[in-house]
């Protein structure tokens, strides 16, 4: 499949040059002293907390990051390649609330988190289970990181996401993961999880994020260096200007990672979008989100780095047509533009605030459809089917043809939730809406869920770890 390109080659170079100029002349604030010291030693000019990046340094360092890497799952069949021609879908992240048709909107709990791990485990189109589908508000903050990791490792054998909160949590994540995945050195060779660390936009990084970035880089663990610039609020109102701010933040973060450890795997991650100017808040369902997704994909390709963007994103408060079309817009753009890592591919409502069970299932269907589009077609004799066309000729049918029988399961996407039946049959089945079908589906998946087996010794050690956290 070819890639959709938003900008011309000359335009990309201008964006890149403008970014480097911003990094060199405006600079970025790093509140974290160890980061400033390292950047100073590499040749950055420092003024207070502000760091000015020489153009050459940035270009040199970002070239050192790998263009793709693999996440190694507990079950090797579920390994995920990040980069190249691949697209990986990862569910919602960071939602403080959850929502479903039965109980409505409420603060997320550890039970909800676990349910989302199970759902992400069960849906074949989700490649990685995620790391913070919802905030487990019912347990102490000091336990949350360990509990999330424990659930992610025990309830699924897919790769997962690690701590994106700070250096202590990052260290804990690596400590817990090494119970299952081996020593730090082994994990650096075969990383089982990826974490997301964010800039403090505009043009800064705070202590916690910077500390975690350096810990992960030191360990050679993959991470997303992510910027969410809000056009008109934390960045210029133009998507062009916002792209410069986003780009400068990501490149600054990546430069830091490569100075900590050459070749540390990173994902070039941009999720900038527009302000909703009636309220001065972030809008993620805006068409400008799709613009930024396409632009981010192209910039990532320009730098030869794996790239994150898009998602099943909506500002809608409920599972309605706004939620559906906004989500598909961004998912489609991510798919067509060549994004490799799509965080928030399932469940998001209300601009990241809520994780919906029903939307999780509906978005999973979108993921399936996008994967089908992404797979692409091959121009081969078998696929072109000239013989079959000749054989059937005019006025015949293909339904009974061996070619159809042989290929239809691979060729045509089979929807899980979509209603394609005729009216009277649909009516007989209870006239169920998409939301009602999604509600039934998530319950069915949770009911059928079986925990993947784990080596008893590892399990014992993990249980021991989590008990010590709970009793602390």
């Amino acid at each position: 499949m070819g890639f959709f390109s938003y900008f011309s080659a000359e335009e990309l170079v201008r964006i890149h040059e403008a970014t480097l100029t911003t990094m060199e002349t405006t600079g970025l604030v790093f509140t974290y002293e160890p980061a400033r010291n390292l950047l100073a030693r590499a040749g950055c000019k420092i003024d207070g907390q502000r760091v000015f990046f020489p153009k050459k340094l940035v270009e040199e360092q970002i070239r050192k990051a790998p263009s793709q890497f693999t996440l190694y799952a507990r079950n090797p069949e579920k390994n995920v390649v990040v980069g190249g021609d691949h697209i990986a879908f990862i569910p919602c992240y960071g939602a403080p609330f959850v929502n479903d048709m039965d109980k409505g909107r409420r603060p997320g709990t550890l039970l909800d988190y676990n349910n989302f791990v199970k759902l992400a485990h069960a849906v074949p189109y989700l490649d990685i289970t995620g790391g913070m589908m919802t905030e487990p508000n019912d347990i102490p903050i000091s336990h949350r990181n360990a509990e999330r990791l424990y659930s992610s490792m025990v309830l699924s054998d897919k790769p997962f996401m690690g701590a994106g909160t700070g250096p202590e949590d990052a260290i804990e994540a690596m400590e817990m993961a090494s119970i299952v995945f081996g020593s730090r050195e082994e994990m650096a060779k075969k990383p089982p999880f990826v974490s997301i660390l964010c800039s403090l936009t505009p043009l800064g990084f705070d202590d916690k994020m910077c500390g975690a970035i350096m810990e992960y880089a030191k360990a050679g663990m993959p991470q997303l260096i992510s910027s969410l610039t809000i056009a008109g609020a934390t960045g210029p109102v133009t998507m062009e200007g916002t792209l410069i701010v986003q780009n400068a933040e990501i490149l600054a973060g990546i430069t830091l990672t490569q100075l900590v450890r050459e070749g540390a795997p990173v994902i070039f991650a941009g999720s900038s979008s527009a302000s909703a100017m009636r309220y001065g808040t972030l809008s993620i369902g805006a068409p400008e989100m799709a613009v930024n997704t396409a632009a981010t994909a192209q910039m990532g390709r320009f730098y030869n780095l794996p790239v994150r963007g898009g998602g099943a994103l909506t500002d809608s408060k409920t599972v309605d047509s706004q939620a559906a079309y906004e989500s598909m817009m961004s998912m489609m753009m991510a798919t067509l533009s060549g994004i490799h890592f799509v965080l928030h591919s399932a469940g998001i409502l209300e601009g990241y605030i809520t994780a919906s069970y029903e939307k999780f299932m509906i978005d999973s269907e979108i993921c399936g459809m996008c994967k089908r589009i992404k797979r692409g077609e091959e121009i081969t004799a078998e696929k072109l089917a000239l013989d079959v066309i000749r054989e059937v000729g005019s006025g015949g049918e293909y339904l009974t043809h061996m070619h159809t029988f042989k290929h239809f399961r691979q060729e045509l996407y089979a929807p899980v939730l979509e209603e394609r039946d005729n009216y009277s049959n649909w009516h007989k089945k209870g006239s169920l809406t998409m939301e009602q079908r999604a509600n039934a589906k998530y319950k069915e998946l949770l009911e059928k869920y079986t925990e993947p087996s784990m080596d008893p010794e590892m399990r014992k050690e993990l249980d021991h770890y989590i008990k010590s956290v709970r009793n602390a």
Binding site: I141, Y279, G280
Partner: protein
Amino acid sequence: MTDLSDITTALISGDGDKVCRLVQKALDQGAPAADILNTGLIAGMDIVGEKMQSGDMFIPEVLMSAKTMNTAVEILKPFLSAEDMSSAGHIVIGTVKGDLHDIGKNLVSMMVESAGFKVTDLGVDVSPEAFVKAVQENKADIVALSALLTTTMPMMQQTIHALVESGLRDKVKIIIGGAPVNQEFADRIGADGYASDAGSASRLAKQLQG
């Protein structure tokens, strides 16, 4: 004489230079500062508030009017008596400890200031003790707490707890805002109000003082 409605119109269109020029002209022509403030400026901000609610004005336009308003008030200040200056109240505002996000908080500051409140902005990463101290020292009528992170939401509760402990709780109204919080959370932690954006924060503050 300068027609004060010209000031109102220029304020609504966010034309700072023109408003300052007209305010200066009105003063030169002998218009009482209090009239310029009430009939020209405050009346303008009331219209801005209405237009924002009805969706006819967008946030960057509202903020430009608010900024203009604040500059014009600075010109008028030397000519206003203590009585004219009597503010709508004193608000202490800040982002709670552990949280470094300040854009929403700054917008609220600007909006309540243009609505006639005196504002003491404590910045970001403000400890409960610093809030208590500022409320005490400024004899604040309202304390406004901001948080963007789910992990710093509990710090709002701890800040309220510190105000209770210090015996100030009954003397001050507490309002909260930020993306992850809502009315239910405000009720749960014992705040007096919640506002979802800068415009409604300003209305809420006026309502609590009213």
